[in-house]
């Protein structure tokens, strides 16, 4: 039986959740994430018409074109997707918003908007496809780049990285998780939890850039000693890579993932029996410790299901505002007459 023939609860096949053909580099972690979104949307039987896809600008922000073709999408401005999402989800509270951003998009230009969106608890699954570089503009450091990391064209990064999860937490996020693009299973699980979450669900997914983040020297990795070949060509040649995929990770275990250039990324899967994700202080501690140990904690770091979302705070009617009929929007003639009466001279 072909996978395509199968349908989910609402009668859609996996194909109905597909997007356009990706124009990202072969092997780019962003593509894996798009695939997991497709898988999860299919498995959860999301109605694609009720989904909106939002993004900023960057390779990562192109992703929404590569999943859920039947959903409306808005590829906005660099770093400004949070504002678009805030407006759209407020006026139509029945929509499921999936936002895809990059680390430059969210951590550099978009940091302010990101934090204010989190603070407002806008109902959105907000994915940061985090590669520590600006992919689309060819390899500058983003604000999440490792301290001391070296890139061919950008030189050495001498600034401390911004931690998307810590930032979300500090801004009172109601859902904070981290994963790795190559860990499909965990990405899917966290995506499902995020979609089920009412408010802002921040998902920081490490998604290495095969083309520009080919660092030989990274605080995330142990030294990679290969003597460098004389370059035979310049940056305009980009080799093809297979996407990285890791096996299921044991909770609590630290795993080193080998990246395209031989460098390593240190991941540590959260042990849910040891970490209580409703404990904010514990979440801070977790992130701070991981930072000191220079590894990445993956899993659900913090969740608060009780925080009111923006539409709730705004005390909106249940009907999405955009579906209100004209008579609910324009007060009747008598109201204006009464206003005129009250205002005009000389009562």
């Amino acid at each position: 039986m072909a996978a395509n023939a199968r349908v989910n609860e609402i009668g859609l096949s996996r194909n109905d959740y597909k997007g356009g053909v990706s124009t990202l580099c072969q092997g780019c972690g962003h593509n894996s994430i798009a695939n997991q979104i497709i898988a999860v949307a299919y498995e959860m039987s999301l109605d694609p018409h009720q989904v909106i896809k939002l993004s900023g600008i960057g390779c990562s922000s192109k992703s929404p074109a590569y999943f859920l073709n039947r959903s409306h999408g808005f590829n906005g401005l660099h770093g400004r997707m949070p504002a678009l999402a805030t407006g759209a989800t407020t006026v139509n509270r029945s929509l499921i918003a999936i936002g895809v951003s990059g680390d430059g998009d969210t951590g550099s230009i978009g940091l302010g908007q990101f934090k204010h969106m989190v603070r407002r608890n806008v109902p959105i699954v907000y994915i940061v496809e985090n590669n520590g570089v600006y992919g689309l503009t060819k390899g500058q450091f983003s604000a999440t780049a490792d301290y001391g990391q070296e890139l061919k064209y950008a030189g050495v990064n001498e600034l401390p990285p911004i931690d998307i999860c810590l930032e979300a937490l500090a801004a009172d996020a109601s859902f904070v998780a981290r994963s790795f693009a190559g860990d499909s299973k965990q990405v899917r699980e966290l995506l499902k939890a995020a979609i089920a979450h009412r408010g802002t669900a921040v998902l920081d997914i490490i998604s290495p850039c095969v083309t520009f983040n080919n660092h030989e020297d990274s605080t995330k990795s142990y030294a990679y000693g290969k003597a460098k070949e004389e370059p035979l060509h310049d940056i305009t040649f980009i080799p093809f890579y297979e996407p990285i995929e890791i096996e299921d990770q044991e909770p609590g275990q630290v795993r080193a993932v080998k990246l395209y250039d031989g460098s390593h990324l240190m991941l540590k899967a959260l042990d849910p029996t040891k970490h209580d994700p409703t404990d904010r202080m514990a979440a801070f501690r977790l992130l701070e410790e991981a930072r000191e140990q220079q590894l990445f904690i993956t899993g659900l770091i913090y969740v608060d299901e009780n925080r009111a979302t923006l539409p709730e705070i705004s005390r909106l009617v249940d009907t999405p505002l955009v579906h209100l009929p004209p008579e609910k929007l324009r007060p009747p003639r008598e109201v204006l007459d009464e206003i005129n009466r009250r205002l005009t001279c000389c009562n």
Partner: protein
């Protein structure tokens, strides 16, 4: 209490008969002293006497302690422009008193607190000391609240000296305090005491007085920002996002109040709207664009600095074709400029906002009525044209009180523009977001949530083809821009037409817009008294439409009058009508204050070589 001094004023007064309902009062205070209530009560009292009035508040960009001036003009002829002269001065700010008094028109009246022991240096004006402290102290208002009502002293004194019946004052107070008896009473007590004191102690020695008329019946007095808010409510606004900035803040304040009054769902008690205070103007316009894309009637209000920050999103909305309304209540620029002074300095900025080949629809209301009307109509235009609509008001229109005819209920149902339903798409079997099906340059859009497999599209600010698919193809780009050009031509036919007063035989035409209308109206009368006949066209929107071309063609010289430094509207006319440009001349001035008719008359006469 003070005694009445005797001044050799006879020479001045002898020539001057009583001046009734045709002068300007200037009240000089410091801000934070609470004079706003007193001033607007005075204004409204005279309005209720049937006298055409206008009031202007000239205030500093701080919260407390700096000079503030309020002018009240009475004009039996109905003029409402700013006068440079003032004839009655209420000097409550010792810091500026010397200047304030020096600029009082000869023959004028100067009221001041007797505590100052002011030296009466001018012998061509009348001085009236007022026992402000004594009267407030004497009031039975609790001591800790007495300074709240000190300003009522000058209200009472002026009532006596100008001849305002106290019932009008009381009515105005009642209006101001929304019928709440207690504050009305407390304030009235002080007014009455001051009134009585003046009756007993001051002899009228200046010619300025008021008399009831019948020229305001059925009219209302409102600030533009409140009218805009009300208009938006009747436009069915569902979403507003904003960031505080003078002088636009009170627009959103009013909107929030009005929405809470008129747009709470009676069944559930819940809101049929959302108003979000954003973290800045980039956030505000971003939210509005997101909401507009999702199908809401969305708006924001801001001023120059906010407009600057909205530049990038303005370009996105233009090119992704998202409807939304942006109110720019203009203040002085460049930069933070003078936050509490008026200007028409954002015309070019808004018209062209965004890098690349961008051009926006701009509405230019000139009266309170129009502000209300554009408050709702802007949404119809935005949704019909699927684009941003800028509405340019300014501090003068927005924050000062103006007379207006009552508001007219929208003359047509809301125009939600070309939005396809699932059924529409099912019928057509296809959907291409940016296809020019009707030849008017406007495509059909769908809203997120539409229940049809073909219903979705992908909005973006990057190049796209008619099916909203990313495209770098030269022909796609050119076709898209050509369609946007057609849409622009459609916009010409939809925006409000100019108001024209074509005077046969007039060689020269005046073109203006927005808050300068009262100035132009009055200057035209002054000019015609000097034998210079003028026609007048008041622009109400960009893009221009043919009326304006014909108006210019039919006059040898046209002067574009505007309250900015660079003559921005003149520049727009030059670039839009290069063939007519030689006859289009700029008369522009900007010093933070509304334009005065005297200045305009002189400027026209000078340019005309008369």
């Amino acid at each position: 209490m003070s005694t009445i001094q005797d001044l050799p004023l006879e020479d001045v007064l002898a020539e001057k008969p009583a001046v009734v309902n045709d002068f300007q009062i200037m009240i000089a205070t410091v801000n934070g002293s609470g004079s706003q209530t007193a001033n607007t009560v005075l204004l409204r009292a005279m309005f209720r006497m049937g006298i055409p009035v206008s009031g202007k508040n000239i205030f500093p960009s701080n919260i407390q302690g700096l000079p503030t001036w309020y002018t009240i003009r009475l004009s039996k002829n109905g003029y409402t422009a700013r006068l440079e002269d003032y004839h009655v001065l209420v000097a409550m700010n010792q810091q500026t008193a010397a200047d304030d008094i020096a600029n009082l028109a000869p023959g004028g009246a100067c009221y001041y607190p007797e505590e100052w022991n002011l030296k009466h240096e001018r012998d061509d004006i009348v001085y009236y000391p007022m026992p402000v402290k004594a009267l407030t102290d004497a009031s039975d208002v609790p001591a800790n609240l007495s300074s709240y009502i000190a300003n009522m002293v000058y209200v009472g004194v002026l009532a006596t000296m100008l001849n305002i019946e106290l019932s009008y004052i009381e009515g105005a107070l009642d209006y101001h305090f929304n019928g709440k008896a207690k504050p009305v009473q407390m304030n009235m007590k002080v007014v009455q005491a001051a009134y009585d004191w003046a009756q007993d102690h001051l002899a009228k020695r200046d010619p300025y007085a008021v008399e009831p008329m019948n020229a305001t019946e059925g009219r209302l007095l409102m600030d533009g920002n409140s009218a805009a808010a009300l208009g938006a409510v009747f436009g069915g606004v569902t979403f507003a996002a904003w960031y505080p900035i003078t002088p636009s803040t009170s627009l959103i304040d009013a909107l929030r109040e009005d929405l809470a009054k008129y747009r709470i769902d009676p069944e559930t008690g819940k809101a049929t709207f959302a108003v979000i205070q954003a973290e800045d103007e980039i956030g505000a316009i971003g939210m509005v664009v997101g909401a507009g894309w999702a199908g809401a009637r969305a708006m924001t209000a801001t001023s120059g600095p906010g407009i600057s920050l909205m530049t990038e999103f303005a370009g996105l909305a233009y090119y992704a074709e998202v409807p939304a309304v942006i109110w720019d209540v203009q203040r002085m620029g460049p930069s933070t400029g003078l936050p509490t002074r008026t200007s028409q300095g954002d015309v070019l900025t808004c018209y062209l906002l965004g890098h690349g080949d961008t051009r926006h629809v701009v509405l230019l209301p000139g009266t309170i009525n129009e502000i209300f009307e554009y408050g709702w109509r802007a949404f119809d235009l935005a949704e019909r044209l699927q684009t941003l609509v800028f509405v340019l008001s300014d501090l003068d229109l927005g924050m000062n009180l103006w007379m207006s005819d009552p508001f007219e209920y929208p003359d047509a149902p809301m125009d939600r523009g070309k939005v396809l339903t699932a059924e529409d798409i099912e019928r057509a079997g296809r959907f291409a977001r940016y296809e020019d099906v009707d030849g008017d340059g406007i495509g059909y859009r769908t809203l997120p949530g539409i229940d049809h497999p073909l219903g979705a599209y992908f909005a973006r600010g990057t190049g796209h083809n008619a099916r909203a698919v990313y495209s770098e193809r030269p022909d796609d780009w050119v076709e898209n821009m050509a369609r946007l050009r057609r849409k622009w031509e459609t916009a010409r036919t939809l925006v409000p037409k100019p108001v024209v007063d074509q005077v046969s035989g007039a060689e020269i035409g005046l073109i203006a817009f927005g808050s300068t209308d009262p100035c132009v109206v009055e200057a035209r009368d002054q000019l015609s008294a000097r034998g210079v006949m003028t026609s007048y066209l008041r622009l109400r929107a960009l893009p221009l439409e043919d009326t304006t071309r014909r108006f210019i063609e039919s006059h040898e010289r046209v002067y574009v009058v505007e309250n900015n430094t660079d003559g921005q509207m003149a520049s727009i006319l030059h670039m839009e009508y290069p063939d007519l440009a030689p006859r289009i001349h700029s008369i522009a001035y900007s010093d933070g204050l509304p334009l005065s008719p005297r200045w305009l008359t002189a400027a026209v006469l000078e340019q005309e070589g008369r």
